[in-house]
Amino acid sequence: MNRSFFARNPSVLVFLATLGLATLVITAASEGLGLGLISTSMVKTLGKTLCLALIAVAMDLVWGYAGILSLGHFAFFGLGGYMIGMWLMYERTSQIVTQNLANAPIPPTAEEISDAIGSQIFGVVGSAEFPLIWSFADSLVIQLLLVVAVPGLLALVFGWLAFRSRVAGVYLSILTQAMTLALALYLFQNDSGLRGNNGLSGLQNIPHLDQVPQSVLSVWFLWASALALALGYVFAAWIVSGKFGSVIRGIRDNESRVRFLGYSVERYKLFIFTVTAMIAGIAGALYYPQAGIINPAELAPVASIYLAVWVAIGGRGRLYGAVIGACFVSLISTWFTGGQAPDINLGFYTFAWVDWWTILLGLSFVLVTLFAPKGIGGLFDLIATRNEETQE
């Protein structure tokens, strides 16, 4: 079955080869395992970019293929990050606390250790108690399951309520914005149990891997991110290649017609919304250990809007378009807003990229929507048609 799948979707193989090659090249040029041409922070940026590409693939599934313009998928991404962040922070703090207390004259009790970890983690929000949601923070396996389960469950409940009432189009988009805003505001509270606006930090320090330098860890995370992107891409390509893909594209183009064919449109929407939320959670869980910190600002509504902009610029309704959009726009954004781009002195006015970049990005979004609705991915179609024409 796999052979025929790849034979029917040659672009998937091209994508996998490109991704593999890029990962190898970055590895060979890295400080940790290669020639040291690329700094460790750059490797982390590239690894994070692959995670963003993965959530862009999810966004393309839900928006580009199923036509649901969700402006809340970064909430799922952030939740995935929080879930893995809880384990990372708990386990590392526990390691440090145990080491410190080991030197104490009287051996500490389990309760003392737990209290010490609690005050280490929650001191900043004036508490030493472990909130209920940290019950499983000591178990990597459970927190990994929660990385997909929590975003999945939120999407399932939210989607069930929204789709059942046949909320669609711009109203649904607004509702998803409200969801991510509400979640961010909740997490900002000190008693949310996730350290309020401090968020979770020190996530780049992986417990039990202290002896591994960050330069090597960054390459490992790059591989993990590349693997997740590859699997996510193949999964998404498989979903949209068959009849299921036909049905969701049908829903995008004319949902009442699909209903009259006997398909429960609401169930399909709920399915794709939930599955993509889970993919977003996985992407977030790989992103934040590379970023080192997660706080509620990550779930701000504008983050999810950026996601839609990437997919639109890359070209929606084609998976490689989403990847191209996410990589291209997020990397170029990093460059322009990182102060690396030289300011342009016009004499009467100094054009600072940091100030103008967001405006230029917004402008390019408008231009792409108006003049190139297929985005950058559309250029590939154009080239492909040209080739066909010259062959004929």
Partner: protein
């Protein structure tokens, strides 16, 4: 003859306007029926009610051998019960090929998981090819349906209906915008389909209705005005007044 669909005493009001007024209608399991009537007579609303798009304020709809009620079911459930609908404006999925359109409509399990793992069997592809031949699109299978002509889209939609294998077909103005030759072909498809299932055709064009050569129901102001052969209803004084004599 046992009735396949029995609509009795159905009424529906939109913002005070009575679109359907105590309408009763029945059709047998292998019957061709034409519904005619002036604009605003309630023809499209009638189809909306039967297919679950609009909920009536009053009345009953009984379906099938067991006489189950359709009122509690949504559009998708009613479609799965075996009622297919063709819209006035051809609505095919233009971004997808003729083959994909037909495969999507083909009778099979409709659940998300069964669809996800569904793979077309040789028999399914054979069936799609046979349907495409029946609607004159056998050479167009790999083409995007958006590239088809208006008449071809109408046929593709009829083909999708047949692929669903419904027991009742509701067809809204199938001949609109067709050339005379295309109309003839459409008539043949519908007459053939009605040999094994019930077919209801809503039509404005009297010439087309005459060619269908079937029982005719005349709607007026949301109720049945007359029913019988075309000659019978066109001789009816009331029908002439409200419709034909305009």
């Amino acid at each position: 003859m046992s009735q396949l669909l029995e609509v009795s005493g159905v009424s529906v009001t939109f913002d005070g306007f009575r679109a359907i007024n105590n309408l009763s209608f029945a059709i047998g399991s292998a019957e061709l029926r034409a519904i005619i009537g002036p604009n605003g007579a309630g023809k499209t609303t009638f189809m909306d009610i039967v297919t679950g798009k609009t909920r009536p304020d009053a009345g009953r709809i009984r379906w099938g051998d067991k006489g189950i009620s359709l009122l509690g079911l949504n559009e998708a459930q009613i479609a799965r019960e075996g009622i297919g609908r063709k819209f006035q404006k051809p609505t095919v999925f233009e971004d997808q090929t003729v083959q994909e359109n037909l495969l999507m409509a083909l009778k099979a399990k409709r659940g998300a998981f069964s669809v996800l793992f569904w793979k077309p069997q040789p028999a399914d592809l054979e069936r799609v090819r046979a349907l495409a031949t029946e609607i004159g699109l056998e050479d167009a299978l790999p083409l995007k349906s958006g590239t088809l002509s208006h008449g071809q889209k109408q046929w593709l939609e009829i083909g999708m209906l047949l692929a669903q294998e419904p027991r009742l077909l509701l067809v809204d103005e199938p001949a609109a915008g067709m050339t005379p030759a295309e109309r003839e072909h459409t008539t043949a498809i519908l007459v053939e389909a009605a040999k094994t299932r019930a077919v209801v055709v809503v039509e404005h064009d009297m010439e087309f209705v005459r060619r269908l050569d079937c029982r005719v129901t005349v709607l007026h102001e949301g109720a049945v005005l007359a029913e019988g052969s075309l000659d019978h209803v066109t001789a009816n004084k009331e029908v002439i007044d409200v419709y034909l004599g305009r």
